[in-house]
């Protein structure tokens, strides 16, 4: 008797709960639809409208203008198009430098912290602190550190080390780009360290022991075991870092305030400013959609190349 009851219950379980996974997913789906998918569709629709400041009160009255906003955004003879292209170039350079350096520092620190030594836990905790700091608190501190007359950097360069006779500006002009990259790397590399540390823990010790018996030194072990075994982690990590950095708004916005210097005009702040200063939401949406298309292309190319290389190997 107990056997049949259990079986009957199990069968009922299977039938009755076919809908269960969908019910469990429902809240997540609804939230994602409400805050991401629907606004995205609305954004595409907005980009096809002449949604300027005159229609913010009643946006449904804005005239349909087709691809006019896109034509303005990619017109390289007009000021809007050249500024957008310039911003795209700046953002690309910023992303390559920031992600490259963050990955390099993260990998170096993760490998060097792999073997236990005195003080290792303390150093690891210290390194992770910038990641835990709220973006605005960290970046405001950097903006103080980079002040021309009262900042730590110029004090070290000019007063302590006498490397320069005058105090350079760090938050306006050409130097602002270097400042931006430095702040970004400072905030980003601990995340790379965190992921790579987690990845290193999955490499079995036997591999290193076997390599050591075969006579492979430290450098050789890093090259032949550590880096190849981190391939899967790196593939995801680099993609995520590139997308986060490319879309970064916090660092430039807090560092420079509402008007970023031209050499550091990142795309997120650029679109934000052109939308909210002139209240031209139609044009702003068109630029956002173009940005998304660009990122989709980059991601597709990245995934194709990385999986092609893996199949090849």
């Amino acid at each position: 008797m107990p056997v049949t009851r259990a079986r009957r219950r199990r069968r009922r379980f299977g039938l009755r709960y076919q809908a269960t996974p969908y019910l469990m997913l429902l809240p997540a789906l609804v939230m994602e639809l409400a805050v991401h998918l629907i606004p995205m569709v609305v954004g595409v629709w907005m980009s096809l409208k002449g949604l300027t400041q005159f229609y913010v009160r009643d946006w449904s009255a804005a005239p349909f203008t087709g691809l006019a906003n896109y034509r303005v955004a990619v017109d390289l003879h007009g000021p809007v198009g050249t500024d957008l292209l310039h911003s795209l170039g700046v953002t690309t350079a910023y992303t390559v430098l920031s992600v490259g350096l963050s990955w390099l520092l993260g990998t170096a620190a993760a490998v060097l912290l792999q073997r236990p030594f005195r003080g290792r836990g303390l150093i690891r905790t210290l390194f992770l602190t910038p990641y835990a700091l709220p973006a605005y608190a960290a970046v405001i501190t950097w903006s103080f550190l980079l002040q021309r007359d009262t900042g730590l950097l110029n004090h070290v360069i000019v007063d302590d080390l006498h490397l320069a006779g005058h105090r350079p500006f760090w938050l306006i002009g050409g130097n602002s780009f270097a400042s931006l990259v430095a702040v970004s790397v400072w905030r980003t590399w601990p995340f790379a360290l965190l992921c790579l540390t987690a990845g290193l823990q999955t490499i079995p010790d036997e591999l290193y022991e076997a390599a050591a018996i075969d006579g492979a030194g430290f450098g050789r072990q890093v090259r032949t075991i550590t880096l190849p075994m981190l391939g899967a982690v790196n593939k995801v990590l680099i993609l995520v870092l590139v997308l986060w950095t490319f879309n970064d708004f916090n660092t430039p916005y807090v560092l420079f305030g509402k008007s970023a210097p031209r050499p550091s005009d990142l795309i997120s702040v650029h679109i934000y400013q052109s939308s909210f200063i002139t209240w031209n939401f139609g044009l702003g949406s068109a630029m956002s959609v173009l940005l998304l298309l660009f990122l989709l292309l980059v991601t597709a190319a990245y995934l194709t190349v990385t999986s092609w290389r893996r199949n090849d190997a």
Binding site: R10, M31, A135, W186, Q201, L243, F281, T299
Partner: protein, 279 residues
């Protein structure tokens, strides 16, 4: 394994350099927060000319920091609770069931991570304003609107991490609970959740940090009443006379809760990440 001498030297040099880079801004923040105003108005001082806790008293009067703080606590707390709850159910479904659309769901949710925030900002702004006009439900410039927005920001990564975590819990646990007559809900709540506490803690910390540090939406979706720390803190910096000692004191005060939380739970965070990364 035997370490050659050059490895030790390289390690000492590289780690010291990184430590210096990491510490410099933290040192600026902490030391400047106990300086009198004259120290931060002239060239940088390594050591405060006079130790004072005055900035920590003044920050609460210069701008309504207490009000911003309360808003941030309420918004981040509510967003975390909602986000983690939603993520637990979604992650359990993805981890334990084979259903049509499972792969699509995972990809779709993760891909929202790559969308630029600026893309939703403008439409969401207009949607919130118009929902308010049509139905009277205020989402624009309210804490509710901000909670709804923020909970979706941490959702994808939370689901991803929890799927990894749930996958590492043996299925035998679910099966024996079902044999005992527990439905999926009871299995999840009474058997799986207690085992997954470290993963859930890590995800909660992540969600809280995400909401606590968000700037873009906070700068557009809040006004005087619902202002959070992310925007409020800039109130000091934009005034004509910047009280840098107060700015640093305020930055320190708003950082301590999340940094302490993160560093205390660091171990769980790494293990949660490992569980997600191993897949």
């Amino acid at each position: 394994m035997h370490e050659p001498r050059w490895v030790k030297v390289v390690r000492a040099v590289v780690l010291s350099g990184l430590a210096l880079f990491t510490v410099a801004p933290i040192y600026v923040m902490v030391s400047s927060s106990v300086k009198p105003l004259v120290d931060v108005q002239s060239a940088f001082h390594w050591i405060p000319s006079r130790f004072t806790i005055r900035p920590f008293v003044d920050i609460w009067h210069t701008v309504p920091l207490g009000h911003y703080f309360l808003n941030s606590v309420l918004v981040s707390g509510a967003a975390t609770v909602c986000s983690v709850t939603v993520a637990i159910f979604a992650a359990y479904a993805v981890s334990r069931y084979r259903f049509a659309g499972r792969r699509l769901f995972s990809i779709a949710v993760l891909s929202t991570q790559m969308f630029p925030g600026i893309l939703f900002l403008l439409p969401l702004f207009l949607i919130y304003v118009n929902i308010g006009k049509l139905t009277g439900i205020d989402l624009y410039a309210t804490r509710t609107g901000l909670v709804i927005t923020y909970l979706t920001f941490s959702l994808p990564f939370s689901i991803w991490m929890l799927v990894g975590y749930f996958d590492s819990i043996p299925r035998g646990l679910d099966e024996s609970a079902q044999v005992d007559g527990a439905g999926p809900l009871r299995t999840l709540l009474q058997v799986i959740l207690p085992t997954a506490v470290p993963g859930i803690v890590a995800v909660s910390v992540y969600s809280f940090m995400t909401a606590w540090g968000e700037v873009l939406f906070a700068s557009v979706m809040t006004n005087g009443d619902s202002r959070t720390l992310a925007v409020g803190l800039q109130g000091y910096a934009t005034s004509n006379d910047v009280y840098w000692n107060q700015v640093m004191a305020a930055s320190l005060v708003v950082s301590v809760p999340v940094v302490a939380g993160f560093l205390l739970l660091q171990r769980h965070f790494v293990s949660g990440l490992t569980a997600g990364a191993v897949k």
